[in-house]
């Protein structure tokens, strides 16, 4: 696997899939120096959206990374099924798609305050900085607390 999250984001954006970027890569977007191993996004995983994701990721051998046999995302879940979360591994990186963010809320809540970034001509919605800090503090693991402190510094620098 050769991670290329920029490529994943570009492909997702071009496909029309509606999402808000969350997690460590959102922190990187705001200027954090942390390195994250996965791209986390928040979205509504209706059966239609799952189908769109399948088409979008098809060329990158998407598989369910939490299953023992790494089941193919191209075959599971079956057509017409919806999900709450998806934990995928692709040839260009790990992507986790969550329906809610601990300490903040669901996709609609996140999108209502999300910040718009235009990157290489594409519009990308990213969880707001205050929401990201709240989410990192709610998770409470050591590395998340560290990122939260870094983000609070970035927030202070942005205000000044």
């Amino acid at each position: 696997m050769k991670p290329d999250f920029s490529q994943l984001i570009a492909k997702l954006t071009d496909s029309g899939f509606e999402f808000v970027m969350i997690g460590g890569y959102a922190a990187v977007t705001y200027g954090s120096s942390q390195v994250t191993r996965d791209l986390d996004i928040c979205a509504v995983l209706t059966s239609e959206n799952i189908e769109l994701l399948r088409k979008t990721f098809a060329e990158w051998n998407p598989r369910h990374r939490m299953t023992p046999d790494r089941l193919s995302f191209l075959k599971f879940p079956k057509d017409g099924e919806s999900l709450n979360n998806l934990y995928l591994e692709t040839d260009v990186g790990v992507v986790d798609i969550l329906s809610t963010v601990l300490g903040v809320g669901d996709f609609v809540r996140l999108k209502s305050t999300a910040e718009k970034f235009v990157v290489d001509g594409r519009v990308c919605w990213v969880i707001s900085l205050p929401d990201l800090i709240a989410a990192k503090e709610a998770i409470g693991r050591g590395k998340d607390k560290l990122t939260a402190v870094e983000l609070r510094i970035i927030a202070a620098k942005r205000k000044s």
Partner: protein, 62 residues
């Protein structure tokens, strides 16, 4: 720019490099992403090399 003293203290305790944050903030988002992805690929490559090395050095029963 003046940062809250408590926040600065937390940053110091956590070992956060404030200069590095300034460097990142001076970059465009696409450059932040590019640097991050490059760093991640490098980390994974190092881990693979370490795992391969350790596999080659496994003691045997002979």
């Amino acid at each position: 720019m003046v940062l809250d003293n408590e926040l600065l203290e937390q940053a110091r305790e956590a070992g956060i490099d404030l200069d590095l944050i300034d460097t990142n903030l001076a970059l465009r988002v696409e450059e932040r992403w590019r640097q991050h992805d490059g760093a991640l690929r490098f980390i994974l490559k190092l881990q693979e090399a370490k795992a391969a090395d350790e596999a080659g050095l496994q003691p045997t029963n002979r």
